[in-house]
Amino acid sequence: MKQEPLLQVNGLCVEFSTKNGSVRVLNQLDLHLLPGEALGIVGESGCGKSMTALSIMRLVPTPPGEISNGQILLNGDDVLQLTESQMEDIRGNEISMIFQEPMTSLNPVFTIGSQVSENIRRHQSANTSQAKEKTIQMLEAVGIPAPELRIDQYPHELSGGMRQRVMIAMALSCQPSVLIADEPTTALDVTIQAQIFELLRKIQEEMATSVILITHDMSVIAEFADRVIVMYAGRKVEEGLVRDIIDNSCHPYTQGLINCVPVLKRDPGLKRVELNEIPGVVPNLAQLGPGCSFAPRCHKVVDRCYQEMPPEQQVGENHYASCWRVGDAA
C-alpha cells in the first residue's frame, strides 16, 4: 500500500552567502511526510535540521540565506512558488511550528489568551467570543488546568512546560495538517519532556496531524518517531523506519549517534560508565571535500570515502543509506 505524501521535499538546497563565498547548508535534501506520520529528523548542531524546518515554513532569513534549488510540495503544490501573502495564510494554519525555547517564544507583553485567540482570528472567521471559547478549548486540550483563568495570565507567570503547552495550543489552534516541532523539549526538564511527548502523541492521534520532530537526541526519536531521517553536514545520510534505524543502522554516523545515548545500567566492576562519543567535530561547511563529509570522523573510512560522494542505496524496505561501506562486514 503506497500512501500519497502530504509533504514532499525534492532536491532542496539552501545557501548562505558569507564573506568567503556561498556556503551550502542544505544539499540536495529529499524527504517526504505521510499523513498522520511522525517523522524524526536527527543530527548534531549545524547539520541543517533546523534549516530544513525553516525552509518548509519559508522562514529562511534572506539575505544572507537563500533557497537556491528544489521543491517543497504541500498537497502537491509547491510552496516555494507562492507569494508571501499566500504563504502567510499557510503558516500557522496549514503548517505550524513550535520552537526550542518556550521561555522566549511567547510575546511577553500580551496575555496567553490574547495570543492564542489572535492566531485563531487571523486564520479563521471567528468573532471575539468564539475565538475565546476556542482558545479555552485548545488550552484544555493541551492539559492546562483551569484554562478560563489562565487565559488572562502573562507568559512570565507560567512555567516552561506550561508555556510550551501554550505554544502547542497556539500552533494547533487552526488544525494544521503538519506540525514542525524544533527541539520542543530541549529546554525543559526530563519529566516535563515525557509529558510534552505524551501530549504531542495524543494530539497527533486525535487530530490526525503529521509531525516533524527535530532533535539531536536519539532516545527521543526512539520514543516518538515512526520514521527517521539522519542528517549530517546538510545532507541526509540515512532514512528508515525507527526500528530499522535503531536495531539495524547502516551508516556509521547513525551508529555513533545511537552509541552516544547514555545507558543508566552500571557495571558493578567499573567505577564509572564510559560515555561514548563520536570523535572530532562537525566540519566547516565551507570546506567540504568532494567525498563523504563524515569521512574524517568515521572509523570505517576507506580511501574512496574521501574521493567520491556515496550515493543513496536501498538497504531494506523503506530503508536507505548513503555510505560506501553499506553491506561490507562491520
Binding site: 502567510e88 510575546n107 487571523r122
Partner: protein, 291 residues
C-alpha cells in the same frame, strides 16, 4: 494522563501596569514631578474660568511691582503678569504636547521602517536622519520660521522637524534588537503579516524607552518654544511664557518680576516633566526593580 489538580487560589504577581505605577509612586522625585504637572495642567484647564481676563489688556500702571493690587505685578505696558502666566500655561502646554505628538509620529514611523526592513530602507532613512542631525537645531528652526509667517502651527511643526531624529534612532535601535528575538520568529511562523508584527509584536515591546523619551521630549519642546519667543520669533498672538520673557527682556533691570515669574513657571514645568521621565525610566527598567 491529565492529572488535574485543583488550582489553588492563584497568588498572582501584579499586572505589569499596576507594577509600573507602584514603582512610580514609590519614587518621591517622580511624584513631585507629577504634582507639578498636575498643577500646570489644572492651571491651563481651569485657570481661565477662575481668573478671567485678557492677558493683552492693560489693566494698571506699567511696571507695578507685585503687591496687593496685582499679585505678580504688571509689565512695561501695564499688563497683569499673573493673568499672563495663567494664559501662558495653556499655550505652553498645547505647544509642548502637539510638538511632541508630531515628533513621535515622524520619529516612530521612520524608526520602525528603518529598523524592521533594514538594508536599503534603513540606509536611506538613516542618511536622511543624519542630515537632520547635523543641522544646528536652533538655527534650523529659526530659518524655518523666518521663511513663513510665525504661527503656533508653524512653530509646532518646526520643533517637530528638528526633534524627531532622536526618537527615530531610538525606535530603530529597539526594533533592530527585538526583531531578532524568538517570539518574533514564532509569531511569523504563526502567519502574522509584516504590519501586524511591527505594530502588535515589536512596538509594544519597544515602548518602555520610547515612553521615557516622549516625556523628556515634552520638556525640550517647551524650552524650544520659550527660546523662540524670547528671540521674538514666536507667534505674536500667542501669549506664552516665552513671549512674556521675550517682550520684557529690555526692562529686566527695572522690573525683575516680569521675567522671573514666567521663567520660574517654565523651570517648574520642565523640571516636572524631567522628574516624571526619570521616574518612568526607573519604573520601566526591570533591572532597578526591588525584588
Amino acid at each position: 494522563m491529565n492529572n488535574r489538580q485543583e488550582l489553588n487560589p492563584m497568588v498572582r504577581p501584579d499586572r505589569p501596569v499596576v507594577e509600573l505605577w507602584l514603582m512610580f509612586f514609590a519614587n518621591k522625585a517622580a511624584v513631585l514631578g507629577l504634582v507639578l504637572w498636575l498643577l500646570v495642567v489644572f492651571t491651563a484647564v481651569f485657570g481661565l474660568t477662575i481668573y478671567t481676563g485678557d492677558p493683552f489688556e492693560m489693566v494698571g500702571a506699567p511696571m507695578t511691582p507685585p503687591g496687593a493690587e496685582f499679585l505678580l505685578g504688571t509689565d512695561y505696558l501695564g499688563r497683569d503678569v499673573l493673568t499672563g502666566i495663567i494664559h501662558g500655561a495653556s499655550i505652553t502646554l498645547a505647544i509642548g504636547f502637539s510638538a511632541t505628538i508630531c515628533t513621535v509620529i515622524i520619529g516612530v514611523v521612520i524608526g520602525v521602517l528603518a529598523g524592521y526592513y533594514g538594508r536599503w530602507v534603513d540606509n536611506l532613512l538613516m542618511r536622511v536622519t543624519e542630515f537632520f542631525q547635523v543641522l544646528p537645531p536652533m538655527l534650523f528652526v529659526m530659518v524655518l520660521i523666518s521663511l513663513f509667517t510665525p504661527s503656533i502651527y508653524l512653530i509646532v511643526l518646526a520643533i517637530a522637524v528638528v526633534s524627531w531624529t532622536g526618537m527615530a534612532r531610538l525606535t530603530r535601535a529597539e526594533f533592530l534588537k527585538i526583531k531578532e528575538l524568538e517570539y518574533v520568529t514564532a509569531e511569523r511562523a504563526m502567519g502574522a503579516r509584516n504590519a501586524s508584527i511591527m505594530a502588535k509584536v515589536i512596538l509594544p515591546n519597544a515602548l518602555p524607552p520610547l515612553i521615557v523619551a516622549v516625556a523628556l521630549n515634552v520638556g525640550t519642546a517647551i524650552l524650544f518654544e520659550a527660546a523662540l519667543s524670547f528671540l521674538g520669533l514666536g507667534d505674536p498672538n500667542a501669549y506664552s511664557w516665552g513671549y512674556m520673557i521675550g517682550s520684557s527682556r529690555e526692562y529686566i533691570w527695572d522690573s525683575w518680576w516680569t521675567i522671573t515669574f514666567p521663567g520660574f513657571a517654565i523651570f517648574l514645568t520642565v523640571l516636572g516633566v524631567s522628574l516624571i521621565g526619570d521616574g518612568l525610566n526607573d519604573a520601566l527598567n526591570p533591572k532597578l526593580r526591588e525584588l
